[in-house]
Symmetry: C2
Subunit: 145 residues, 2 copies
């Protein structure tokens, strides 16, 4: 077995789900939105929404209120939330799972390639983040007009 670079976690849904949640919250303004309601629009299980909300909360993008009439809303104006932040928020978890495995250390290339790939990935990611930082959640919401 080999390599588990998880740098580009825009993969497979979590980023999309987070953006979807944030978009709904942006449209709902000051209201507290239940995970049930959010899940209804996204068409996934409410528990998945809560998990994602939990992560967004940890990253300061949303706040939640427990108890009856509780729910979630944006932690700051949509003009101050950037896609790069969403990317970073979603990425975290994957990064933990990162496990770089054993290329052959007797090979000049194998011995060093992980470091070099790391650098390459870091650079590429910076570029990507720069691009994503140009779109705010407010910008994104405008598209629905």
């Amino acid at each position: 077995m080999y390599c588990n670079y998880k740098y580009y976690s825009m993969n497979s849904g979590r980023f999309a789900i987070s953006v979807h949640i944030l978009t709904l919250l942006a449209f709902a303004d000051d209201e507290w939105n239940s995970s049930e309601y959010l899940a209804g629009s996204i068409n996934i299980n409410p528990v998945l929404v809560r998990k994602e909300l939990s992560n967004l909360r940890d990253h300061g993008l949303v706040i939640s209120k427990e108890g009856k009439a509780g729910g979630s809303r944006l932690a700051k104006p949509s003009g101050q939330i950037f896609m790069s932040e969403v990317y970073e928020a979603v990425k975290q978890i994957d990064l933990l799972g990162k496990g770089i495995n054993s290329p052959n250390p007797d090979c000049v290339v194998g011995r060093k390639i992980n470091d070099h790939l790391d650098n390459l990935y870091d650079d590429a990611e910076k570029t990507l983040l720069l691009g994503l930082s140009k779109t705010s959640l407010a910008d994104f919401c405008l598209k629905f007009a």
Copy 2:
């Protein structure tokens, strides 16, 4: 179930494996390298290497020779192969698997979000490719000096 955006396929190894293969071939110059040898440095199964070679071949990055004393080598000088090409080569297969599923069509956001996410992803990917196009395989190999 929801969303399967597979745009960012730099995920989990295939990109790394392809770069590893290409780097080995770049160092080996004109020699024909067997999948067995390549697999030895990467420390994965030779069949996986052949699959990856098959893909790289389809994208004009390597050529292979069958039969005894056969193997693979670069299809062009390493200075003319860019990381963006490798990314594109690896991406293809994932793109086929792309399946965007059913957000709630009764919701203003749900109805349109996939299109908007698509655009966002396309833009981000363009940025990423631009970044990757700045590093050639030759550049990458220099790091091993």
